[in-house]
């Protein structure tokens, strides 16, 4: 059922009328001449929103991955101006990042009463999440609630305009099946327990009141819920960034050098996995040698096809750290299918944010590469959607 409004404009010739059908976002021009109607159809490219899901345990906020991702598209992402200062949303020219904590159905006191964590699906309103993500994807603005992390209360909603790229970040982007189907691309950040412990110590030891025991107790208490509800989402992700302790230093427990694996699902539309030397082969590569001198412990790369939760995947793995710019550019020149627009783009992006954590190891490298892959996916999707209506009109 098409709802049309008929406008008669004075600017055009009085014999011209046009109607706009809001359901199909097309503009029809009717020209009445000698009591015969001539139709010309002009289709406006309706805004196509690409939805990306990112699952990560650290909670929401200005996390490093989001900043790298928005930086690939250009511009810095900032909270909405003039709104709630404790808003979790980030807006840039092309992207809007929504924190899924905003869809908590229970606030902090509610969760304490019921004895559930934020990881529990009972604390989240998946129906509202699905409706609003669907609305934004169709180009309709929504009033999204705000979960205030400082007070632990649900604040008044804020208006979110549909962006070109919508990123939903949080604990459960792939938990609900309906929301999962709306995602054009999904990423899961899988941090191993040892690395998580090391990072949490780094983050919380400076905080008054925290001790090693309290940090350990906090991680242990959340583990059952995490493994029951969050961890299973990694089987649905198109790309998994797995962070593990290094294998280059025996008995390392500092957690400074990391081994990072980028697990990419094969057969995902518009997504072509990164590879080393030759697709589908198994390669082990140490770039340090005659051409490149690296300091201890050096860098080691691995590439191999694999099977992950019964899916065909390709895995690129980096163990070690970058010390210098030329190591980075050397590595970049040997990786294939990076979706860069010019030689050295990955290095340039990494250098742009050299102060971000992980800029000298695989976490930064693979986050940047995933960002470029998402840009490539976005451009392909847009190009595809633009050609489809033209073909329909021709037919």
């Amino acid at each position: 059922m098409a709802v049309s409004t008929i406008y008669s404009t004075q600017a055009l010739n009085s014999t011209h009328f046009f109607t706009s059908s809001s359901s199909s976002k097309q503009v029809f021009f009717y020209r009445r001449q000698n009591n015969r109607r001539f139709n010309t159809i002009i289709t406006c490219a309706a805004q196509q929103t690409v939805v990306i899901g990112l699952a990560a345990d650290s909670g929401c906020g200005k996390s490093t991955f989001m900043r790298r991702l928005t930086s690939v598209f250009g511009g810095a992402a900032e909270p909405p101006k003039g709104g709630n200062p404790d808003s979790n949303t980030l807006i840039s020219d092309m992207t809007t990042v929504i924190c899924l904590d905003d869809y908590h159905s229970l606030d902090r006191t509610g969760r304490k009463e019921k004895g559930v964590t934020a990881l529990d699906p009972r604390a989240n309103d998946f129906d509202l999440m699905y409706e609003q993500v669907k609305a934004l994807k169709s180009g309709i603005a929504v009033e999204k609630p705000i979960y205030n992390h400082v007070t632990g209360l649900l604040d008044a909603p804020e208006l979110i305009q549909p962006p070109k790229i919508l990123v939903i970040e949080g604990l459960h982007p792939m938990f609900d099946e309906r929301v999962r189907d709306l995602l054009d691309f999904s990423i899961y950040l899988d941090i191993s327990n040892e690395v998580k412990f090391a990072w949490k110590i780094q983050r919380d030891m400076a905080e008054r009141g925290h001790s090693l025991e309290s940090i350990k107790a906090s991680i242990e208490a959340r583990k059952p819920d995490f493994e029951a509800f969050i961890d299973p989402q990694k089987q649905y992700a198109d790309a998994v960034i797995e962070v593990l302790p290094t294998q280059l230093i025996p008995d390392d427990n500092e957690g400074k050098v990391l081994r990072v694996r980028l697990i990419m699902k094969e057969g995902v539309k518009y997504f072509s996995p990164v590879y080393l030397f030759d697709e589908g082969s198994t390669i082990s590569w140490i770039p340090c040698g005659r051409k490149l001198t690296c300091s201890y412990p050096g860098i080691k790369f691995n590439y191999a096809p694999d099977s992950y939760f019964d899916h065909e995947v390709s895995v690129v793995e980096m163990d070690g750290q970058f010390d210098r710019l030329d190591e980075l550019i050397y590595v970049e020149s040997h990786l294939s299918n990076l979706s860069t627009k010019f030689y050295g783009e990955v290095t340039q992006q990494m250098l742009k944010h050299a102060d971000f954590p992980g800029s000298n190891n695989g976490t930064g490298l693979f986050q940047t590469i995933v960002g470029l892959k998402i840009r490539d996916l976005y451009e392909q999707l847009i190009a595809n959607k633009a050609t489809a209506p033209a073909e329909a009109a021709k037919a």
Binding site: G61, K112, H149, G209, S214, A217, S218, P224
Partner: protein, 129 residues
């Protein structure tokens, strides 16, 4: 009108320069004169009103973290596997994350940039290309 905060002694020198358009040029801030007899008073030129100390948002969150850790330890002393204990530690994690984000935000926030983001038309924030 040009307002100049002068030192305690009366200064006879005309400090407001009247231009031809009769618009006085005001000197910003208190006037520092090279008079050796009142070097002492220069150092005591303090603001009359002392700004009251407010708990910064970062301090508020830190207090919350500390309190939540104590609560969690108490709750879990009773029953380590109950839902309340788990929820209490989850709250500790949430507040710790909020505290670390607040610390990061504070670390790279420049007070002038913050002010200019909201008030780009003020004199301090005007840019001339």
């Amino acid at each position: 009108m040009a307002t100049i905060a002068a030192t305690s002694l009366n200064i006879g020198i005309q400090l407001a320069v009247i231009t031809s358009e009769a618009r006085p040029v005001s000197l910003a801030g208190p006037v520092r004169l090279n008079n050796p007899w009142n070097l002492g008073s220069r150092t005591t030129n303090r603001m009359a009103a002392v700004r009251p100390v407010k708990a910064t948002p970062e301090g508020v969150i830190s207090d919350k973290v500390e309190k939540s850790i104590k609560d969690a330890e108490e709750t879990c002393a009773g029953d380590p596997v109950s839902g309340e204990c788990v929820a209490a530690w989850d709250e500790v994690e949430e507040l710790s994350a909020a505290a670390s984000h607040a610390r990061d935000k504070k670390k790279d926030s420049d007070p002038l940039e913050e002010y200019c983001k909201d008030n780009p038309e003020t004199n301090e924030c005007r840019t001339y290309d």
